[in-house]
Assembly symmetry: C2
DNA sequence: CCGATATACCTTGACAGGTGAGGTATCTTG
DNA sequence: CAAGATACCTCACCTGTCAAGGTATATCGG
């Protein structure tokens, strides 16, 4: 896990929201999805994940319900709300903007050859 | 200033180091440069800037000296060290990596059409 | 059957970086 | 002479991350 936390910090919520866009999911699964999508390069810490869920719920961006597993550990599912979709889109916009700004500031073109 | 702090958080030090790559500079100037480079979209808060300088100095990434202005307010200049250059390059690598990871997680391609 | 591992959830306290609010001093310009 | 720009700085507070701890169930090899 070479990616330092502070680099990702602030994107956590958008990442979680984005993972709920297509279908409801639960904590463990969301994290495994992240791991898979990034070819094992990144994974949220559990504490980070669950505190983010609480924030998102409080903000009205997600709702939650318990799954009815007959077998195995119980699962708490999360569902993105309409407001959550808006927030996700907003987060994405901010990401695109931030990316442009940081790229500009790090003057990527200066280095690209040698990296 | 639409870019939220947490999005930039963690890049501050790399941004400052990058601004010192070509020539020494001082706090106020560095911030104005950032403002100019980003077309007034982004600017570091002064408190953020100066605390970052202290960290960078402590880490041995920059050295500092007072300018000999005959007129106007005094300026404290900063100079990037060899280690600072390495750290900057490392920060840039991390940025490139993080960018790829976040892009993947936000599945940018899903949206790009509508954004 | 027992230990290890995977699945699945959760909380707490500590820590680090960002920042609002406050301060100092000099120079320019109307 | 007041206002604003230049230029520096610190402190206390806030927020997100995370190590460390906890709970419970299922599977699988030996």
């Amino acid at each position: 896990m070479s990616i330092t936390a502070d680099i990702i910090r602030g994107h956590t919520e958008t990442i979680i929201l984005a993972s709920l866009l297509e279908h409801d999911s639960y904590g463990y699964q969301i994290n495994k999805d992240i791991l898979r999508k990034t070819d094992n390069r990144y994974e949220l810490k559990e504490a980070t994940l669950y505190t983010a869920f609480r924030r998102l719920e409080q903000a009205g961006y997600i709702t939650t319900y318990w799954g009815d597993e007959k077998v195995g550990a119980r699962r708490r599912y999360y569902s993105i709300t309409q407001e959550g979709r808006k927030a996700c889109e907003q987060g994405l916009r901010e990401w695109i903007e931030a990316k442009a700004v940081i790229d500009r500031l790090l003057e990527l073109d200066q280095w690209e050859v040698s990296l």
